[in-house]
């Protein structure tokens, strides 16, 4: 990642309210191409809501979100098309239980990328090989472990050939022995140059892998910097307090 890389996602004065509760307060931020950004912070600090506003799974109350220079918060624009380029992985996997592993991956590419079934399957098999799930291609998700489901969810998103991957606490719902496999996949992805925004509680992972760490608390980005700055020499008292509790 170079410092002068183009911004891929830009957020301007983003606010999100749920009824009386203000979750995000006037956030302005950029994610640059090829950047790996980790978002850390206490629960209820707005991390997940911020991430979900990036692909408009949450509709911001006010403010603008730009993706590849296009304002996707514009009501007139077809947001589905832009979402295809923003892969997302959820804490609870959300794999499709009624489809086989292979169908989970090929569904969106055949419907929305116009691939033939054969092409989509060919691509899917390459992806499955990459995450070590080739032998599970015809299984239904109920036969998979949590870690396998999450790896499936990752390649399902990758099959749309996204320009950015959004991870919403991808390992929080996993048994400890499964965490490593999933982190390995995300790490490989980061090393391959994918732009990644990762909401995480895995501090070691954030520290090793990120180009930049955002600390969110109380609906704002309270502090940000390189992993060395945030973990080695935090400035904000809230960051210091948080890190002292989790490290």
């Amino acid at each position: 990642m170079t410092k002068d890389a183009k911004p891929l996602i830009r957020v301007e004065d983003l606010c999100k309210q749920f009824h009386e509760l203000t979750v995000l307060k006037h956030i302005t931020e950029e994610i640059r191409e090829g950047e790996v950004v980790s978002i850390i912070g206490p629960s209820g600090g707005g991390k997940s809501t911020f991430l979900r506003c990036l692909n408009l799974l949450e509709q911001p109350t006010s403010g603008k979100v730009f993706f590849q220079g296009v304002e996707i918060t514009d009501q007139k624009i077809d947001v589905d098309r832009h979402r295809q380029k923003m892969g997302m992985v959820f804490q609870h996997f959300n794999v499709f239980p009624h489809l086989t592993v292979l169908q989970n991956i090929t569904l969106a590419p055949t419907l929305e990328r116009g691939l033939s079934k054969a092409q989509a399957e060919e691509e899917a098999l390459v992806l499955l090989e990459r995450v070590g799930l080739s032998d599970k291609r015809d299984e239904y998700p109920r036969k998979l472990s949590g870690g396998q489901k999450q790896r499936l969810a990752i390649v399902r998103a990758l099959a749309m050939k996204p320009d950015v991957m959004l991870f919403d606490e991808p390992t929080s719902a996993l048994d400890p022995e499964m965490v490593k496999d999933v982190l390995k996949v995300i790490q490989d992805l980061a090393l391959s140059g994918m732009t990644i925004v990762n909401v995480t509680h895995e501090m070691g992972f954030a520290r090793e892998l990120s180009d930049r760490v955002l600390f969110m608390d109380g609906g704002i980005i309270a502090e940000q910097g390189t992993p060395q700055e945030i973990f080695g020499n935090p400035q904000n008292p809230r960051t210091i307090d948080f890190l002292s509790k989790v490290l």
Partner: protein, 222 residues
């Protein structure tokens, strides 16, 4: 033993009355199930729409039909429909319309609840992959909702069959009316009542079995 003797006597003499009554019940049930389901499915689409007015319309329709007694609704259609339409209507037609309208509300609710019971994470996953709303409904939500809907719908069908007995209030030819007919000819109440009851029981038990088998098969391929 007197009851059994009387039942046998009545059955030998009036079996055609009961059987034609059964035919009426089955016919009315089939029509109600078919059109009630069709109308119910269409209604269930209303709350999925982005148009706010449709939600209110749906809520009003469901609230009204589930909040008033079905017998009252039958009377309403029986009195109002012939006045409202320029064509001649038989009692049977009025009653069927009422049954269809009533059951459509229950079917719509079964479908709506079945769709709503699909984990919201599925919607989010589909959206995040960039699926259009239409594709999401067809390929992700409905296939999962169907497994919630079908068993409940089976029970709804059984309810519909039992409710057709209300048509006897308007002397529409069906199984409960058969009981009334035989009672007024023979001046015996209990034996024809039991005969009608047994026929209902056999039909509904068979259908329940069918619904259960179907339900089991759905669960097997889950």
């Amino acid at each position: 033993m007197l009851l059994v003797e009387q039942m046998i006597k009545i059955w030998t003499k009036y079996s055609t009355v009961f059987l034609s009554g059964l035919a009426g019940t089955l016919w009315i049930s089939a029509v109600t199930v078919f059109f009630g389901t069709l109308l119910g499915v269409l209604l269930a689409l209303l709350p999925l729409s982005k148009i706010k007015g449709f939600h209110a319309l749906y809520k009003g329709y469901i609230g009204l039909l589930r909040g008033t007694p079905i017998l009252l609704q039958l009377y309403f259609f029986w009195i109002w429909l012939p006045k409202a339409l320029p064509i001649e209507l038989t009692n049977t037609q009025c009653v069927i319309v009422a049954l269809v309208v009533n059951s459509s509300a229950y079917v719509a609710e079964v479908i709506r609840a079945g769709i709503q019971a699909v984990d919201y994470g599925q919607t989010e996953a589909a959206k995040s992959l960039g699926l259009s709303n239409k594709n999401m409904m067809i390929y992700i939500i409905m296939p999962q909702a169907v497994k919630n809907i079908l068993p409940a719908l089976g029970n709804e069908f059984i309810n519909m069959i039992k409710q057709t007995s209300l048509a006897s209030v308007f002397f529409v030819s069906e199984l409960t009316t058969s009981f009334k007919t035989v009672q007024s000819t023979t001046f015996l109440a209990i034996p024809p009542l039991v005969i009608s009851g047994v026929i209902y029981l056999v039909v509904i038990t068979l259908l329940s079995k069918l619904v259960n088998t179907f339900e089991g098969r759905l669960r097997a391929c889950d």
